[in-house]
């Protein structure tokens, strides 16, 4: 089933899918973070989304999009306060504010969602573009969605484009030198490797796109 908009019930289902995603990808992310980090990314992401999914499901669709996203962000901040955990929590909390009061997310609302998410991460993490972080994929996600909204693209198509842009941006992180977090210590060794946090960003948007496109995941 293609979803032209996402409502609160969809969001709850999406969190359930994200939860499954990060449970599946736990070891992949552990291994990836292990290369130039501390191997915890798979653990924190699976915990964060398990807790968020449970919390939004318990709250139910009647709470509305804004409240559900706030709940998800708040519980993530508590359950998984690693760099990525807190940045992801910040992202959802800011997105919550951006879409507060809306009944459904169409392309324009989704652009506002990811713009707020991106800016929250940028503000909290103080990274610059090109620093080889999550921000390097969030930025093209936000701008691609803003373009898509301006061009009147439907949500599934818009999200697919954003995910493609994120893929390309993730690929581009390989050439970058890590400037933040534990990876920064590895200096030159980070060149050639894709950034772990950016990988999580791609997983999030790709899964959202697949979900909106109604493809089996």
């Amino acid at each position: 089933m293609t979803r032209e908009t996402l409502n609160a019930a969809d969001l709850i289902e999406l969190f359930e899918r994200w939860k499954e995603l990060f449970a599946d990808q736990r070891d992949v992310l552990i291994a990836l973070d292990g290369k130039v980090g501390d191997s915890d990314l798979g653990i924190t992401m699976s915990k964060a989304f398990a807790a968020a999914s449970e919390a939004v499901a318990a709250e139910g669709a009647s709470a509305g999009l804004g409240k559900l996203l706030r709940t998800a962000g708040a519980i993530m901040a508590r359950t998984a306060p690693s760099t990525m955990g807190t940045l992801t929590a910040t992202g959802f909390l800011r997105a919550s504010k951006a879409v507060d009061g809306m009944e459904v997310l169409d392309t324009a609302a989704m652009a506002a969602f990811w713009r707020a998410y991106r800016d929250g991460v940028a503000e909290r993490g103080k990274a610059k573009l090109g620093d080889k972080t999550l921000l390097d994929v969030l930025d093209p996600i936000a701008t691609t969605l803003e373009d898509a909204a301006q061009n009147g693209l439907a949500l599934p198509e818009a999200l697919n484009r954003a995910a493609d842009a994120a893929d390309a941006a993730l690929e581009a992180t390989k050439a970058m030198l890590a400037q933040h977090g534990k990876a920064a210590a590895f200096q030159q060794k980070t060149i050639g490797l894709q950034d772990a946090g950016a990988t999580v960003g791609v997983m999030l948007i790709r899964h959202m796109a697949t979900f909106a496109s109604g493809q089996g995941i």
Binding site: D38, S39, D40, A77, P81, S82, T86, G181, K182, F186
Partner: protein
């Protein structure tokens, strides 16, 4: 993984239960075991808080007590506590004189302490931050702001703790903690990996005859990996890097901390200190205060670090002051 534990998921909380049972001088905020505070908050005093991942005992929470810290929020093994937990500790220990956060330079911790400081500010609590970055191996001179905080943070706790105990105001305690930070340098060396309980296998692998100079306390890479050298040569290499960026003059005094990373016997730490002491004597620098043992560990990692604090009169006074915490006692004299 060969550890005394019941369940990797409850490792930290069961450890904390043990700590509260063993040390009635500390307690927790509300129901959250991970928000550890002194049982007797001293009224009017500047509050000192720290925090960071578990797995480094006695860092962080082990230094909460008289003459040292007032509270610590700890996370999972090598995981930052949450901003909310830091805020809870902050609110508990604040006596109206403000709170100083002293913690290590790790992105997860910074992001959460920053968030906590913002939240505390909204509640009318003045918060200052000093971020320990003593690990010489983790960035070059000129990029000290990128350096990790490791065992040398103990000196920051000690200096700030004594300053707060003297009744100094927040800005002065902050100045002194920051001065200790600027004058502290650490170099570490690892011989074996740690195992994070929830991961279950070694964080990194290292050959049976290899050492890594400059490795971080979560297994972050160091400066060079090579064949394990004799203890004196290892110390020489570590101290050379510290000497290269400090300006000790003959007659100066330092405080020395030879820290075991968790799996290294005390005997070996003393063999390392012997050489440290020889090198200092050769420069006519006095090791005025010496601590040898485990201060900031990395679970069962074999290895050691050497921290030096370049003393001056006021820092010496603060380092010499008495302290009494569950994991560290210092009888002045």
């Amino acid at each position: 993984m060969k550890k005394f534990l019941n369940d990797p998921g409850s490792f930290v909380d069961e450890m904390l239960e043990g700590i509260y049972k063993a040390h009635p001088a500390v307690t927790h905020v509300g129901d959250d075991l991970r928000c550890l505070v002194t049982a007797k908050v001293k009224s009017g005093k500047v509050g000192l808080a720290t925090g960071g991942g578990s797995g480094h005992l006695p860092t962080f929470l082990g230094f909460v007590g008289d003459g040292m810290l007032d509270g610590a929020a700890v996370g999972g093994v090598f995981q930052s506590p949450s901003a909310e937990q830091m805020l809870d500790v902050t609110k508990h220990i604040d006596q109206g004189a403000g709170v100083l956060y002293i913690y290590g330079n790790y992105s997860g911790d910074i992001i959460n302490f920053d968030m906590a400081a913002e939240l505390a500010d909204l509640e009318g609590i003045t918060v200052r931050q000093v971020v320990g970055n003593d690990d010489v191996a983790s960035s070059i001179v000129g990029e000290e702001h990128k350096r990790r905080g490791v065992a040398g943070i103990f000196f920051l706790y000690k200096a700030a703790g004594a300053a707060a105990a003297e009744g100094l105001p927040l800005d002065e305690v902050t100045r002194l903690a920051d001065k200790a930070r600027q004058r502290t340098r650490t170099m570490g060396v690892a011989l074996s990996s740690c195992v994070v309980p929830e991961i279950g296998h070694a964080t990194f692998s290292i050959g049976e005859d290899e050492m890594e100079i400059g490795m971080g306390i979560h297994g972050e890479p160091g400066i060079s990996r090579k064949t394990l050298a004799p203890a004196d040569a290892v110390v020489d290499e570590m101290m050379e890097r510290i000497f290269a960026e400090t300006d000790y003059q003959a007659g100066d005094e330092v405080a020395v901390l030879v820290n075991g990373l968790g799996g290294t016997p005390l005997e070996e730490l003393y063999i390392l200190f012997r050489r440290v002491s020889q090198l200092l004597e050769a420069r006519s620098v006095t090791a005025k205060h010496v601590w040898i043992g485990e201060f900031a560990t990395s679970m069962e990692m074999a290895g050691a670090s050497i921290s030096l604090l370049h003393l001056d009169a006021e820092l010496e006074r603060l380092i010499a002051a008495p302290a009494d915490t569950p994991f560290f006692q210092h009888i002045a004299g």
